[in-house]
């Protein structure tokens, strides 16, 4: 389960994909074919593309949830492709946060307990955990919501809980997959702004997967998945 560090990693590079290839069936063309990508510390990048183009596959590869058929994925100097399942999981627990389109907030836990999940998994002492969760909820405008259950919240509030959970353990990388897909335009705008602000204040880097141009425009840089490659917005075919 040891996390291997690359010997000559650039400290400013958080995530680097080199010549990445992912193919699900040998008789079909690869979903991702030779992608190169570099994410710098503090950078917030949006990746756009049409449905089925491979955006989520790319995100899963970045998270160590899937393995490439060729190429490498280095996160903080570690080659994710060589990590076993446990090591990749422990790395995610420590250094990554996730926001999903469907929120995935546990219905039987209170807001506080949902947000505290990564801290609980890391074994953080209770007082420190409660303080961190309290601060996090305050910062996303959910102060006083800690003892509520998810069924008592709106969609926008649920996504804020999910954002809090993704950032409460101060990860180096935030991965957000269509975080506003289930929200109305007003809530979506608020969530995007919040996400951007939180990533910045936490000192994290972020990758936002979206097919919404408005959402993508909140990022520092926008890339488009085009023909299984990643190109800057405007350069696509």
């Amino acid at each position: 389960m040891a996390i291997m560090a690359a010997p000559s990693a650039d400290p400013q590079i958080v995530l680097e994909l080199k010549s990445l290839v992912r193919r699900f069936r040998p008789d079909r063309p690869p979903v991702i074919d030779g992608i190169d990508f570099c994410l710098r510390r503090g950078e917030y990048v949006a990746i756009m593309g049409e449905s089925g183009v491979g955006k989520s596959t790319l995100l899963n590869l970045m998270a160590g949830l899937d393995r490439p058929d060729a190429g490498s994925i280095e996160f903080d100097g570690c080659d994710l492709a060589v990590l076993d399942d446990d090591a990749a999981t422990l790395l995610r627990r420590r250094a990554m946060g996730f926001v999903f389109q469907a929120f995935h907030v546990l219905p039987y836990l209170t807001v506080t307990d949902n947000v505290a999940l990564p801290l609980d998994l890391a074994g953080m002492p209770r007082p420190e955990r409660d303080r961190r969760v309290g601060e996090m909820l305050e910062s996303v405008g959910l102060g006083g919501f800690g003892s509520r259950y998810p069924r008592e919240l709106s969609g926008g509030e649920l996504q804020r809980v999910a954002i809090s959970r993704a950032l409460v353990h101060r990860p180096r990388l935030l991965l957000a997959d269509e975080p506003t897909g289930n929200l109305d335009p007003r809530s979506a705008a608020q969530v995007l702004e919040l996400l951007r602000a939180q990533v910045r204040s936490a000192g994290s880097s972020g990758v936002l997967i979206t097919h919404s141009r408005a959402a993508a425009e909140t990022a520092d840089r926008v890339l488009v998945m085009d023909g299984r490659r990643l190109v800057p917005l405007g350069d696509e075919r």
Binding site: S56, N60, A63, L65, D66, D85, D86, T89, L90, R92, R93, R94, M96, G97, F98, F100, A102, H104, L106, P107, Y108, L109, D113, L117, P118, D120, L121, A122, G123, Y149, P150, R151, R165
Partner: protein, 833 residues
């Protein structure tokens, strides 16, 4: 409507074919057991009825005395009555064939007179009627001939007193004449052969056309000596069946347990399946399916499962009945119908009833969840988390508390017609009440559990607390089966321990002996008794005379046991219940609990005991526990008995040895004193105890089998529940894997949930089972069998089963989790919930 049914039921069959099949099999098992037990019991009853009808024939009145009989001079006096068209005197005895054979019922009758009353039986004798008048001749039914291994022209030996007599088989009756084991002799030959000259014990009467039967029986009452009663043919026909009724009802109830557990399994499977499909069902409502259509479609789903399971079940039940009859006999090992040969014929009517019952129970199991799902507002049902909201409706405690109270009240009511009807109602109400209280109880139990520090365990506990309603549904089948298993286990263990203790108390001697088992013709004379007492090495010997007496028409005879009862030390081995009167010897009787219950006699009451045609008055000096004579037993002092009857013979004896003497040496000497002494029944105390406990265990073997099936069905229910929940929570597991929970931690979380639920189910099942066992031990057992047992808890057995169940629950949860985790975390988080 068909389109809705297709969208609901067929979609489920396509999605979860394995689960549907196992639910069908569970229903089939319940229906099969109920059907099999019914068919076996019905077969036995049918044979009882046929046999009794053949023996009673066309008699309108049967005059019956105990096996000791009455003076045959009564016969011509009654036969002269103008109302009597035909009269047939009978000497009915249980004869003791030598060798390893059970007692054989023999009818000594006048074939010419009997032809007018039992024509079918006599017709079976055919052309050899006259040979029956030859000395030592006997006709045997085919079943008796087969059991004795003898054919026409062959001979077999029987014991008369302690001597041996050879009987010659002149005819084997066709099965159509009489299907069970029976011997038929000429009455004079029987009287002569069995030393009963001048005595009969039955008189069958056919009255003339238009005769007033009630008036005639009133007149008879004045003529009949004490201990001789007149009964109608119905009572005669029902008599044998009545003895076994309580045992048969108990078997029926056990079969119903399996059926009931199957119903709870259908309920929990359907409820969880519907909860899981809640959003899809709400979608159907949203696009125009009416509430009624949805409810009917879901109900039809349960009915289809019921039809499939019941059809399979009745076929399986018929097969099980045939196999069980071949392997265990008509009493399923109970030892009641040893003389009956029974065939389980397919009976379309009852099979249809069990088919419909199984279908109805499955429909009932599906009805409540169907109603709830169709009544749910679609808008709310479409939202995540609504499943628990639906299950939460089960939480109010008052229906459960009300049913439990009703159950407790029923436990205090007396039997109806000798059947503990209210006892069974009590068990049913307590069981249903207990199940209805599960959601409230499990919520409280979960609330008081301490909060674990580890994230996996605290998440597991939070999940359980948040879904207590669904957990209760998951637990229903296993709590039903486990609590009933606990109750039955406590009852059987209590009975066995009480029986064991009782045997230890009533078998204090070194050797116990009897001339033959349950036979009227075998006994020791005074000289035989003196010879046994004089055997070297015998320190003391106690002889007893056991004979049947009739205390009331329509009831089985009570066993009268005459033994030395003159001093307080004489009752030291008597398992007395409650306080008795001081021992004074003659004029006192110690009655068994069955006599106390059936004849409403208590300590200090006067007992009218018919002996030699007159009533003797005895004071009831005590009540004792007797597990060997279910129709009742009365102990009297032997000197007093001899003074009343002049009967100095003995049928049983106990021998105490001098110090250092080996029992087998004395046994050999005793056997050597008698002709065919090898056929005497002589046992050491421990050997007799072992033999008796062996009979007990065989009798309850079927009980354990039925319990095991019920628990298995319950476990299947739990595994369904876990796998349903695990599948429903795939997205949750996917999210947890994303945020850094290891695969094994997710599995451990599920295993922890399974173990906690298992512990709650087991603890609740133990508590509920204990309450049910009190009703079984103190109400149903007592009212069914008329004997008391002490409560004993089989702690080790229950602890082992409880541990196995908790482990099985954790294991099924683990397996379910692994199966659910086989879908990758990537796909899981994309499934909406």
């Amino acid at each position: 409507m068909l389109a809705v049914l297709r969208a609901v039921a067929l979609a489920r069959l396509r999605e979860q074919p394995g689960r549907v099949v196992v639910t069908v099999v569970a229903v089939a098992l319940g229906v099969a057991l109920a059907t099999a037990v019914y068919l076996i019991n019905a077969g036995a009853l049918n044979e009882f009825g046929l046999a009794a009808r053949k023996l009673v024939g066309e008699a309108d009145v049967v005059i019956r005395g105990a096996s000791g009989g009455f003076d045959e001079a009564l016969y011509p006096r009654i036969a002269r009555d103008p109302s009597v068209a035909a009269a047939s005197p009978v000497l009915e005895l249980d004869m003791a064939p030598l060798g390893d054979h059970p007692a054989l019922k023999v009818l000594g009758l006048d074939p010419f007179r009997a032809a007018g009353i039992q024509p079918e039986l006599i017709a079976g004798l055919g052309g050899v009627l006259l040979t029956l008048f030859e000395p030592d001749s006997i006709a045997l039914s085919a079943a008796a001939a087969e059991e004795l291994g003898v054919g026409t022209g062959g001979t077999f030996a029987v014991r008369v007193g302690t001597s041996v007599r050879e009987l010659r088989v002149v005819q084997v009756l066709p099965t159509s004449a009489y299907a069970q084991r029976l011997g038929v002799m000429d009455i004079a030959t029987a009287q002569w052969s069995f030393d009963r000259v001048g005595t009969i014990n039955r008189l069958d009467l056919r009255l003339g056309a238009g005769a007033d039967v009630d008036g005639f029986r009133q007149r008879l009452r004045r003529l009949l000596p004490a201990g001789v009663v007149s009964t109608g043919p119905d009572i005669e026909r029902d008599r044998a069946a009545n003895v076994t009724r309580a045992y048969r009802v108990n078997l029926d109830m056990l079969a119903m347990v399996a059926l009931l557990t199957g119903a709870f399994l259908v309920f929990s499977t359907q409820a969880l399946s519907i909860l899981r499909r809640r959003a899809s069902l709400a979608l159907l409502r949203a696009i125009g399916v009416t509430r009624r259509q949805l409810e009917l479609a879901l109900l039809a789903e349960g009915v289809l499962i019921g039809i499939a399971g019941s059809a399979l079940g009745v076929a399986l039940g018929q097969g099980i009945a045939m196999l069980a009859l071949a392997g265990l006999g008509g009493d399923l090992g109970g030892g009641y119908f040893r003389s009956l040969s029974i065939v389980a014929q397919p009976q379309p009517g009852p099979l249809l009833v069990f088919f419909l019952l199984g279908t109805a129970i499955a429909a009932f199991g599906a009805w409540a969840p169907a109603r709830e799902a169709s009544a749910a507002p679609p808008a709310r049902a479409l939202k995540a988390g609504d499943a628990e909201h639906a299950a939460r409706r089960l939480r109010p405690a008052w229906p459960g508390a009300a049913l439990m109270s009703a159950g407790l009240a029923c436990a205090g009511l007396p039997p109806v017609g000798g059947i503990p009807l209210f006892g069974y109602l009590s068990v049913t109400a307590l069981l249903f009440g207990g199940i209805l209280l599960v959601p409230a109880a499990s919520s409280r139990l979960l609330a008081i559990l301490p909060q674990p520090r580890r994230a996996t365990l605290s998440t597991a506990l939070a999940q359980l607390r948040g879904s207590a309603g669904q957990s209760a549904v998951s637990l229903a089948a296993i709590i039903v089966s486990f609590s009933l298993m606990v109750a039955m286990a406590i009852m059987v263990h209590s009975f066995r321990q009480s029986f064991d203790g009782w045997l230890g108390q009533v078998l204090p001697a070194d050797l116990h002996m009897r001339v033959a088992q349950a036979a009227d013709t075998a006994y020791w004379s005074e000289a035989d008794q003196a010879a046994i007492a004089a055997v070297p090495g015998v320190s003391r010997v106690e002889f007893r005379r056991q004979r049947a007496v009739i205390l009331a028409p329509g009831r089985e005879p009570v066993q009268l046991i005459a033994r030395p009862l003159r001093e307080p030390a004489d009752i030291a081995d008597l398992p007395l219940v409650g306080k008795g009167l001081p021992v004074r010897g003659g004029g006192q009787a110690w009655i068994s609990e069955a006599v106390h219950d059936l004849y409403r006699l208590d300590v200090g009451d006067t007992l009218r005991l018919p002996l030699r045609g007159k009533d003797c008055l005895l004071v009831v000096a005590g009540i004792w526990r007797d597990y060997s004579r279910p129709s009742g037993a009365i102990l009297v002092d032997r000197d007093w008995y001899v003074a009343q009857t002049g009967d100095v013979s003995a049928s049983q004896g106990s021998v105490w040895l001098e110090p250092g003497v080996r029992p087998q040496d004395v046994e050999r000497l005793i056997r050597g004193h008698f002709e065919r002494g090898d056929a005497l029944q002589i046992y050491t105390g421990p050997a007799l105890k072992e033999l008796s406990l062996g009979f007990f265990d065989r009798a309850f073997a079927v009980t354990y089998l039925l319990e095991a099936v019920a628990v298995l069905i319950g476990l299947v229910g739990v595994s369904f529940a876990f796998s349903a929940q695990a599948l429903a929570r795939r997205a949750e597991f996917g999210m947890l894997r994303h945020v850094g929970m290891l695969r094994r931690q997710v599995v451990a979380m599920l295993a922890g949930e399974g173990a906690v639920l298992g512990v709650i189910g087991v603890l609740y099942g133990l508590a509920l089972g204990f309450v049910l066992s009190l009703v079984l031990v103190y109400v149903i057992n007592r009212q069914s069998f008329n004997w008391s047992i002490d409560l004993h808890i089989p702690s080790l057995q229950l602890a082992v089963v409880a541990l196995v169940l908790v482990a099985a629950a954790a294991l099924t949860a683990t397996v379910s989790a692994r199966a659910a985790m086989s879908t990758s975390a990537l796909r899981a988080v994309r499934e909406d919930w």
